[in-house]
């Protein structure tokens, strides 16, 4: 394990950003956001940025291919792919876990090379949460915030940051900045872990009953009477899906630039009315069905296709951001017990 004093953390950021681009959470007037590190940029102490870190690997919009159309002929122009190495610093355990879930979608056959390319160029440095919020419920999905994933994991006490590599890429990263780091005892971060564990034990959202969400129970849950009531106030906006670290639905669109066609993909939301509209109609005509789709996907469909892993990491963003305060925890509570 390595360590660095917090008052000299800028030297770590400088060293990290010397050979690659460094992104880290920075305070803004409206919550934290991941920003590119430049001299003098300060690391935010906020628990989690407004937006999740999925942007780095699955950006909100991404150019896929360009076309040039002339008369009856079409020319396909493949865009150059970003090849910049980057480090994302300050990712929490929940977001780190979300990458594993996104991997299951994008890296399964056929591999999404856009995502894969970004994944290969990025190194993730996680930091143990030191001030969990009331909206946190990652422990329900088997995440231990005191042992965050990513390539390098960090723990922070009052004056020191402890770093430990989880992967080969992480080791290489730490070696590349070895000059600014000092050795530390492997148990140095234990007291931090204990403190955080004690706080975690007091979190209000614990022991959610997830046992009802199984593939066998799919039709039962799908047909539940509760959806109507739960979705009643839903505005049909995409806030929950866009702040969610695991939501991965996308749309493919063409944009006519006047001198060519750009085909790009962008995030889409199953909460939107047009999401499934096609020539023969729309199978999800009301918000009840769209709302149900989102939560059924996270809690039943995704696990059914991925060995029982839920597509939620309990980061709590949707709890904090939903305009009408409806969220996955309320859905789990309403359906979990009643539909076994």
């Amino acid at each position: 394990m390595k360590q660095i004093k917090l008052d000299s953390i800028q030297s770590l950021f400088k060293a990290l950003s010397a050979t690659r681009t460094l992104y880290l959470p920075v305070d803004t007037p409206a919550g934290a956001d991941f920003k590119k590190y430049e001299d003098g940029v300060l690391w935010s102490g906020a628990l989690n940025p407004n937006r999740s870190a999925k942007d780095f690997f699955f950006p909100q919009t991404e150019n896929m291919v360009d076309f040039k159309v002339e008369g009856k002929t079409i020319e396909i122009i493949e865009p150059t792919r970003p090849d910049e190495d980057f480090v994302v610093f300050g990712v929490r355990a929940c977001d780190a876990r979300s990458f594993e879930l996104l991997d299951k979608v994008f890296l399964c056959d056929p591999v999404d090379t856009y995502y894969q390319n970004r994944r290969e160029h990025g190194v993730i440095v996680t930091v143990c949460c030191n001030k969990p919020a009331e909206t946190c419920f990652c422990t329900n999905f088997g995440i231990d915030p005191t042992a965050p994933g990513g390539d390098v994991a960090c723990w922070q006490d009052d004056d020191t940051l402890y770093l430990q590599a989880n992967t080969k890429a992480g080791e290489a990263l730490l070696n590349s900045v070895a000059d600014v780091l000092a050795e530390a005892d492997d148990s140095a971060a234990d007291s931090v872990k204990e403190t955080v564990k004690a706080i975690m034990a007091k979190l209000p959202i614990q022991n959610l009953d997830l046992s009802a969400f199984t593939e066998d129970n799919l039709l039962n849950l799908f047909g539940s009477e509760q959806w109507k009531k739960l979705s009643e106030a839903c505005l049909g906006c995409g806030t929950c899906t866009f702040v969610c670290p695991t939501c991965q639905c996308y749309d493919i669109k063409d944009f006519d630039t006047g001198h060519g066609i750009k085909r790009f993909r962008c995030w889409d939301s199953c909460m939107y009315s047009e999401f499934t509209r096609c020539a023969h109609g729309n199978p999800r005509l009301s918000q009840v069905e769209r709302f149900r789709q989102r939560f059924m996907h996270k809690l039943v469909y995704f696990p059914a296709n991925n060995n029982g892993d839920f597509s939620c990491v309990g980061c709590g963003r949707c709890l904090a951001k939903c305009p009408i305060s409806m969220n996955i925890v309320k859905v789990i509570k309403a359906l979990g017990g009643a539909n076994k």
């Binding site: 896929m64 291919v65 076309f67 159309v69 009856k72 002929t73 079409i74 396909i76 493949e78 979608v105 994008f106 056959d109 056929p110 591999v111 999404d112 090379t113 856009y114 894969q116 593939e215 799919l218 039709l219 799908f222 047909g223 991965q248 639905c249 996308y250 749309d251 493919i252 063409d254 006519d256 066609i261 085909r263 993909r265 889409d268 199953c270 999401f275 499934t276 509209r277 096609c278 020539a279 023969h280 199978p283 999800r284 069905e289 789709q293 059924m296 996907h297 039943v300 469909y301 995704f302 059914a304 296709n305």
Partner: protein, 276 residues
């Protein structure tokens, strides 16, 4: 196969346009240097697009045994299809695929007596299987084709049906139209009723494709006749964007139509939520 290859399309060129009905045209598509853009199995789909207009999934109408070109029968019903209908020979389009599971022609269908039930443009995906079966006649038993449409003019591929299928030994073609029409001396009535009237042997394997309401009633009729749902296959269609099970919109329950479908056995549909 990676998405680099699948999400980025290949170029194809329209080499022939055939007007089938007032709103259906069949397009022949070749690779730029002739031949097929890719190989496929019966029931699989391809994503066709005109850059700037849009991209959509269409079933490949031609049989894999056709090694020269692919065909798509397309009904005019939206923005992209309107555009496609204005195409002339020589127009390039982009194409990617093949997507989906296709019909189990080499496994479950082998040695079976086949009944094909189609309505309207629903013949498009079935035509691929029918011709595949015809070209591998030794592998399959009897073939019955029940095909219905609103009117005589709306029967897709009428020429091929009359000139080829009807004349082939071991293939029984039953045509029907919804309403009486001058110049039509065949059967008149809806497809589900006709299927019941014909009363097929219950050890045959049935493939249905057509409007959802037709599928529903035909299936009910077949079960009345004593068929089991495991003998009946159909193909689904929902909005698709990526074709590889990642964009997240064509799911019915935990199944993605583009990846796990579009062909489903009717007993599988029972296990899926009724959201299609």
């Amino acid at each position: 196969m990676s998405v680099q290859e699948t999400l980025i399309p290949k170029l194809g060129v329209v080499t022939d346009v055939r007007i089938d009905t007032p709103d259906v045209k069949t397009f022949r598509v070749n690779a730029l240097d002739g031949g097929k853009v890719f190989d496929h199995m019966p029931g699989q789909c391809a994503m066709l697009s005109i850059p700037g207009v849009g991209e959509a999934m269409f079933s490949i109408t031609s049989s894999p045994t056709n090694t020269e070109f692919m065909e798509f029968s397309i009904k005019k019903c939206g923005c992209l299809t309107n555009w496609l209908h204005q195409m002339e020979e020589g127009q390039q389009i982009t194409i990617r695929g093949p997507y989906g599971n296709g019909f189990p022609v080499e496994t479950e269908f082998k040695g079976k007596d086949m009944v094909f039930v189609a309505g309207g443009i629903g013949l498009a995906p079935l035509r691929s299987v029918i011709n595949y079966v015809r070209d591998n006649r030794q592998n399959y038993g009897t073939v019955d084709i029940v095909y219905g449409s609103r009117s005589m003019e709306d029967l897709v591929d009428y020429k091929e049906i009359i000139d080829v299928w009807c004349k082939e030994e071991g293939i029984n073609v039953y045509l029907t139209i919804d309403r009486e029409q001058e110049g039509w001396d065949g059967h008149v009535g809806f497809v589900p009723n006709y299927v019941k009237e014909l009363g097929f042997d219950t050890n045959k394997t049935v493939i249905i494709c057509g409007p959802p309401i037709m599928i529903k009633f035909t299936l009910a009729g077949l079960i009345e006749l004593g068929f089991d749902k495991t003998q009946v296959y159909t193909t689904m269609e929902l909005k698709m964007k990526c074709g590889v099970g990642k964009c997240g919109r064509c799911n019915i329950g935990a199944k993605y139509v583009c990846k796990d479908g579009p062909v489903f056995r009717c007993d599988q549909l029972d296990e899926m939520p009724n959201e299609y």
